[in-house]
Amino acid sequence: MSVPLSQMWTVGRYVVTQKLRGKKRYPLVLMLEPLFRCNLACAGCGKIQYPAHILRRHLTVEQCLHAVDECGAPLVSIPGGEPLMYPQIGELVQALVARKKYVYLCTNAILLKEKLEANLFTPSKYLSFSVHMDGLREEHDEAVCREGVYDDAVEGIREALRRGFRVTTNTTLFDGADAARVRQFFDAMMDLGVEGMMVSPGYSYAKAPDQEHFLRRRRAHDLFTAMLTDAKKRWRFNQSPLFLQFLMGKKDFECTPWGNPTYNVFGWQRPCYLLQEGYAQTFQELIDDTRWERYGRRSGNDKCRDCMVHCGYEATAVDHTFGSWRGLRDTVLSTVTGKL
């Protein structure tokens, strides 16, 4: 695992504090979407199918910071849309770093080199560029429906690393993914020098154009087992090893949708990053008034049945780590030995 110690300490202290306070539902990662606009139109993405006047909208920095303060999560992920298209992205990141929030700026990296050359960002332990990479060149360009994006992303990653930034990758795997090719991809990212990798199966967005290529649970277990059994020691993952074990079918977790609350131009999204079943005006309203019992595998909700996405289960894994001696032991063991 490649999560820096200071970040692990911050998260561990935060989770333990929530537990000592008796909070059953607490946020771990705020998914802050300042805009939906993107410079790609990936087949698996359900985030950008909106009328033009909605795609032109974006949150103000003040709205973003208010949401961050309201929520209180120690980690802030900035997806979108493409956040590097957000006009105030430099100002926003600077303000988040000043608040000592660990920021994952999720980008396809097409604009990364350009923004770095414009000195929009300053390296910090609090800032990581989380670059969307869905595999090696052929798989990635196919997933994002445009050729040449893989090469652009690699160029952006190299530039960010050269300038001393933290860089991680974020990979969504679809049905038909080849475990051997993914292993080669892990090697390629390690050769590139990224700090760590995040992987997750895709989610079948009702609005995404491609509904046939998302992983079902059993096939996901098979794929992740084939990918991660005998994981190479040089592979570093920027996520909980317990979550990876969950993907392999070795752990059985339930979804904690409140762990990654989402805020965007519509408000606080119910119930999670993936489902859009309404919007709350405040974070407290989201937590208090959402019918959480309707979501997660055990609820019987069809939309949740096959979901194994990290925005629902990584928070569960982290809660397990810091909520039980067994969870802590398993995490430490896996971290030390590198075995999943």
Binding site: G44, Q49, E142, K207, P209, G278
Partner: protein, 114 residues
């Protein structure tokens, strides 16, 4: 769900005959295009309906209008009908189309010896 299922684009439901107001609101909420909300007084608002709360003491919808204003809040009780007037941005299967274009491009490249 297939994305090639029938789109609601152009639908002008007869309230109470085709569906109840609550059902039409749900479909409008799920629709990824602009709609036209016709108020009880006959005035119209064109825009994106992004939220609704049928369980509120006074059920309401929220919209951003297509000129960039909003959010506007309209009570269910003030809605006469909703027309699905905007383009359905989620309709179609761009992934399949992209695969076809890509295959065609590659075939053309190999055919030309490129």
């Amino acid at each position: 769900m297939s994305t090639e299922e029938t789109s609601l684009e152009g639908w002008q439901p007869q309230m109470g005959e085709d569906a109840s107001l609550a059902e039409v609101v749900e479909r409008a909420f799920d629709y990824r295009g602009d709609v036209t909300v016709v108020r009880a007084d006959g005035s119209e608002l064109v825009g994106y309906l992004f939220n609704r709360d049928a369980d509120a003491a006074e059920p309401f919808v929220q919209m951003f209008d297509h000129a960039g204003g909003g959010p506007h809040r309209i009570r269910y009780g003030d809605i006469r009908t909703i027309r699905f007037t905007g383009k359905d941005t989620a309709a179609g299967n761009s992934y399949a189309a992209w695969l076809r274009r890509r295959a065609a491009t590659k075939a053309a490249e190999s055919g030309s010896g490129a």
